[in-house]
Symmetry: C2
């Protein structure tokens, strides 16, 4: 399994990756290599799927990749890769072009595209809109090929794609009916923080259902708000873990599999089978010719298993990956961060330095008349610890210039300071080409405790899906990590321990406006991620007055979130395409349930 | 048909509308009144559909509305209304709660919810994500009731919902099978500018297919980016137009219909029928008891037909409606607009004044060292013509304060001026509670010819879907309209005729950076709305060098659009939820076609 980092739209670059990683796989003795879902186009391509020129290019590039592999002596390795295709004879559907797009997979071998298929189950929830783009596949390819050992009998390999594992029936069921020994599954499955090992459990269950070894190959890397975490998995037909890739890193996971011999008298090709999900799926069989192997493998270089990261390390790696890829894939050389001495900007700068190296991180200290001494000294301490490029721009003269014209007080005066800082960062970004990183956390973004075009200004927001309590946890974890390696902890202890303050007014503290973050974050998680109504929140033990107040804050801030920059999703529901609420919305959650008991429904 | 303006989430207010408009309908002699789709909840409710408390409230409020109608003496009028329901026995589906949401309609009569059904065809393209929220309905209610004339025999009325008309097969087909004489269709169909009368043609075609009189009742009003335009229609079973409501205005469209007598021996209830779309739909029949009519109708007050607006008037009305409803439904008392003397801000202010009255429109002139004399004089002329609240805030001292600290030049210096203006508007908004209206047009937004947090700052962007050439056209039309009524043209002629300039640098003209707007807009329309690839654009006659340059500008500006405020959609594809492209996107349109010919597919 080649767990690699594809880039959306970069068909040339992604094609190069296919050739380069297939060569590495060949060098390590592989006969079959599996790339992620939509490898050739990147994922998700969103409305590019509807553009004819883009689908044309994907199909042409797939053929070119097959030819190139053969030309470079790699035609004897079966390459399974995801790409974007179209269904020639699709029924017309409103919103889809004639020849509807397919989230497809192909087997490249002997210089040719040997067989293709398409994802059967289309996710259309959370961040996924696949019913908007694709029609479902209705074919299960079963490819007969010689096993690694030259003398071995043939084995049958079936192909499913990503969501096909997550829903009942479909390709997994038909794999069992087809009697395939191996089910390979290209994926583009984004990271979500979770205590359970959901994916492993899923692979184990589906391998048992399919009665086959299951190889789950996932993508790696960041794409706008999504971070693909790799963590590719192979389990045998009893659910035993055989191999597991690293998280958030490109890798070749090499496993020597003991597969059952293919039935010498298979059912005839193109047989439609009941997929137990209300549909029929056609089994399409083909046999790959034996080709000479290109070279003697260096099986000693092969690696099949990597350790899993603990929780904080995993979340932190997701944020670093998200920042690194947004910066590099969008062609930025450097980033700029406004440093307040507080924990949010300290963590953001630290993530950026870990992602890009300190030399590509520029910070700006922008003290005002309300800034405490420790704001400046803590920020300076962080700069020194990490060796960042720092600059100080006091905002007083700019605040004075505005106030001379506008006579502002209260909230308007507070926001003014935040906006002047946002403007300084944008000006320095325009002048030097840095990407501005926004430092707001999820608790603030939820509660609307931020200034539009002020602290919310920027191109990418590394911690927008991180609740404040997790911000502290990650900061402490990062410092401990450094200590355990004998390095200087990157974040000043005082930034972690001091009470949070926006310092936009004399003596201002977050606690003047917001409840204690531990209480707030628990409530936000239940309201935002679990979508509980007010009565459910109260029933779950949250204080009724607080429920009413916090829900109102969250609902009223929708317009601010709509204009917020993207940032890496790490929870089951982030602010972005995952949670879609109207701005114009007069719904007020009742604290008492309406009393309509929903009827019992079958368990999900 | 009650073509009314529902508000998302305002179940109490929407319920009041149902009662109030049913009373008006009763006063005009109606026996049946049809409200729009999702009338009780507003439309679209987006992720609120997934929240249990909200669905509970909708169901409870529907029952309460039926009871209230009866209590107020209106129980003898059959009321068809849209609301949000759940399917008790739905199959589990990932992303949906147990008891999946339904886009439903109900008949309220005699104090009770007599029958319910749900939309069968779910749109999942353009701005619609209904497969995310709903499961399809599979019932066609056929309600037998006494016709208006007391001595008449009974008539059969079937109910379909919105998209059920736009797709082939389904409820329309089954209406024919059921032999219903009238098909009523609640809609929430947003406005889109188009030269053809698509909706009327659709209603005519479906009426013929159903073999029934068809009554299409649409919503009115703005909801975030969508504007519902009313324009409700009744056609007979031969497609003849019987009634048509006004555009963009609430109205009761009263028609006295000559309906065929119901077959005295109908097929048994609950009969599943082939819907000719691969599904079965069950016909559910019921007969409403005759109830005494509440009062003698004032049929003279009834009106059935309104004239249609010409093209410019229609677009302008859509923009005015969008602004008025965003402002009022979000509880703002007033708006504020930065006035440059140019045409974009002049048109924006004029739309706002038409939407809210000049007394609720505040404008700010923010001249800089690069502002020409006519910038100020044209803006002042507009203020005088319309009687707006005006204030002048020269930006020089603020620019100087920033430049003293930052030493900016080129683009950074230009953006600085735009951002200072954005900040002044936001400060005045914070101080006085005005909503900031953003003045950018679609051509600028497409090409990225705007400053993030500068001229793009604000809460609502009235002309974000209006190309520059249409901005001029609307301005000229608005002035002519005023002249034809003997009023002062609201927009200074010089704002319309002078060459456009951002005035952020000495002698700067839009034409330094952008091609002629007539050429640019034609290209943008083909690329953005029609989603043509580069080779198609060249084949359509656009200059290849320009195609390459403009496409690059559009693609690179995706990050700016992601942070842009919402504004009314008037074209088949606006920037917003309608066009979803990745920010991180290395795809570069090839000027030469890839040569993959898509196969022929059946016509859509």
């Amino acid at each position: 399994m080649a767990q690699v980092n594809a880039t959306v739209g970069d068909l040339d670059g992604n094609s190069d990756l296919i050739v380069a990683w297939t060569r590495r796989a060949a060098e390590q003795g592989a006969r079959l290599v599996v790339f992620p879902e939509m490898m050739l186009t990147g994922y998700p391509v969103e409305d590019l799927a509807l553009r004819r020129s883009f689908v044309d290019a994907s199909i042409a590039k797939l053929r070119a990749a097959a030819e190139r592999l053969a030309a470079e002596g790699l035609g004897g390795i079966a390459v399974v890769t995801g790409y974007l295709d179209r269904k020639a004879d699709s029924q017309p559907r409103v919103g889809l072009p004639a020849g509807a797009p397919l989230d497809a997979a192909a087997v490249l071998y002997d210089g040719q595209v040997q067989v293709t298929s398409a994802k059967h189950h289309l996710p259309n929830y959370g961040v996924f809109d696949e019913y908007r783009y694709f029609v479902p596949g209705d074919v299960l390819p079963v490819v007969r090929m010689r096993a690694a050992d030259e003398d071995a009998t043939a084995v049958d390999v079936a192909i499913a794609i990503c969501e096909d594992l997550w829903q009942d029936g479909g390709p997994v069921t038909v794999t069992c009916a087809a009697g395939a020994g191996l089910l390979v599954v290209p994926n583009a499955s984004p990271y979500e923080r979770g205590k359970d090992d959901t994916r492993l459990e899923l692979c184990q269950r589906r391998a048992r259902e399919a009665g086959a070894v299951l190889a789950y190959a996932n993508m790696v890397g960041g794409q706008d708000e999504l971070v693909f975490d790799g963590d590719s998995i192979i389990v045998n037909d009893e659910g035993e873990l055989l191999a597991r890739g690293p998280q958030f890193e490109e890798a070749l996971i090499v496993a020597d599999l003991n597969l059952p011999a293919a039935d010498p008298s298979p059912c005839p090709s193109d047989k439609p089978v009941d997929a137990h999900d209300g549909s029929m799926i056609t089994i399409r069989r083909l046999e790959l010719p034996d080709l000479p192997r290109p070279q003697a493998p260096d099986a000693a270089a092969a690696r099949s298993t990597w350790p899993r990261l603990p929780d904080s390390a995993e979340v932190y790696a997701a944020l670093v990956t998200g920042v690194r890829d947004y910066v590099s894939k969008n062609g930025f050389g450097s980033v700029i961060v406004g440093l307040s001495g507080g924990i949010d900007s300290a963590l953001t700068a630290t993530i950026a330095a870990d992602a890009l190296g300190p030399d590509r991180v520029h910070v700006v200290l922008m003290p005002s008349r309300y800034s405490s001494d420790h704001s400046v000294s803590d920020a300076e301490d962080l700069v020194k610890r990490q060796g960042l490029h720092a600059r100080t721009v006091p905002i007083r003269s700019m605040v004075d210039a505005f106030e001379a014209e506008l006579d502002l007080s209260g909230l308007a005066a507070e926001n003014l300071q935040a906006r002047i800082r946002g403007m300084i960062l944008m000006s320095l970004s325009n002048a030097a080409g840095h990407l501005v990183l926004t430092t707001g956390n999820k608790s603030e973004l939820a509660a609307g405790y931020s200034t539009l075009y002020g602290d919310s200004a920027g191109g990418f927001a590394p911690i927008k899906d991180v609740l404040k309590t997790l911000v502290w946890e990650l900061a402490r974890w990062r410092n401990r990590e450094a200590e355990s390696r004998g390095e200087t902890p990157p974040i000043p202890e005082n930034s972690i321990t001091k009470p949070p303050s926006a310092e936009l007014a004399p003596g201002q503290m977050d606690s003047d406006t917001l409840p204690d973050y531990a209480v707030l974050d628990a409530l936000l998680d239940d309201y935002v991620v679990h979508d509980m109504g007010a009565a459910e929140l109260v029933a779950a033990g949250h204080d009724p007055a607080l429920v009413e107040r916090v829900i109102r804050m969250v609902d009223r801030a929708e317009y601010k979130r709509r204009q917020y920059p993207p940032g890496p999703k790490i929870t089951p529901k982030n602010f972005g395409r995952d949670r879609r609420l109207p701005i114009t919305n007069r719904w007020r959650e009742p604290l008492q349930s309406q009393g309509t008991q929903p009827p019992e429904a079958p368990a999900s």
